[in-house]
Symmetry: C2
Subunit: 169 residues, 2 copies
DNA sequence: CGTGAAAGTTAGAACTA
DNA sequence: TAGTTCTAACTTTCACG
């Protein structure tokens, strides 16, 4: 991805409603040139959509928790995400390396709902759970694009890249 | 928060660039009535902003990890978030109940950068770390406001580069 | 909360390097 | 292929009923 595209993505990650006029001003391009690039970024899937950032305390869903999941029967086929997808309180689902198989981030309105949610998760996916309640959130979903590498990294992998086995773009 | 406001927040959480015209159509209000409500929601802080949803694999930041943090000196004043805030790769920071004090969600371009990041975190905040690498992300940042969840287009799983280890302290 | 008009934005066609 | 300029259609914004 080119520097100009990266800049556009970074700007839209920071303010998803920025107008093409302002994007053009910030990048030195014309309005339609930016528009064209944004459309290509959307088509390529680099930009997947736009969302309002909601303050869940204000929206009266004040409890966040992280739930680590271990399948009860390690021999059974692992379709945990499919079995959990219908539960709206599950904000994110990560498949992870480690003792446990998945980590869920959930949001509920209180301890009672958390209890119900845990029961629902265990029943739906036949798993055991380990729950970590979030006490406060200093920040969340900040856009980490400024740490992105330039295109040179592809041609010259570092020692650390080589020692790990799987594909690292 | 009123049902109409909740509906508006829900719609904007699903599509942050929806026009006021369409919001009005979907809620049965006029354009300006919706506009007025959205502005109030923004002022009250229920809607904190808008962001583009970025596919981090496409953007060449393909590695996600969860880092649990324990302060090295329990007697020292706890200003860990302030000490970490300047590191851009840290996407989210949660203060949590449990054995550990914080959980960070980070995004990096590869194992080498993860190694550097862990060193930076330990040095900046005087903490020990326990790292869980994310292998894939069945979904992320779904909006949990809905009782009738509009499933957004399926998120592309993020393949990461991990052999079998989970603890990288 | 709705109406309507001015100001601003977007989308796309035609053109250029 | 990627950029610019031009223009019609649409959206946002705001004073007023």
């Amino acid at each position: 991805m080119e520097a100009l595209d990266r800049r556009i993505v970074q700007l839209l990650a920071g303010d998803g409603r920025m107008s093409y006029t302002d994007l053009g001003r910030s990048t030195g391009l014309s309005t339609s040139a930016v528009h064209q690039r944004v459309r290509r970024l959307e088509e390529r899937g680099v930009i997947r959509g736009y969302r309002a950032v909601v303050d869940y305390e204000e929206a009266r869903i004040p409890v966040t928790a992280l739930i680590s999941i271990t399948p009860f029967d390690p021999a059974a086929p692992d379709d945990v995400p499919d079995r959990l997808r219908h539960i709206p309180a599950i904000d994110s689902c990560f498949s992870v390396a480690g003792e446990e198989s998945y980590v869920l981030k959930v949001r509920v309105s209180g301890p009672g709902e958390l209890e119900d949610l845990l029961a629902a998760v265990r029943a739906a996916a036949n798993v055991t759970t380990r729950t970590t309640v979030v006490l406060s959130t200093p920040w969340e979903d900040r856009s980490p694009l400024s740490s992105a590498p330039e295109e040179t990294a592809e041609l010259a992998p570092t020692a650390a890249d080589v020692t790990s086995t799987d594909r690292v773009p």
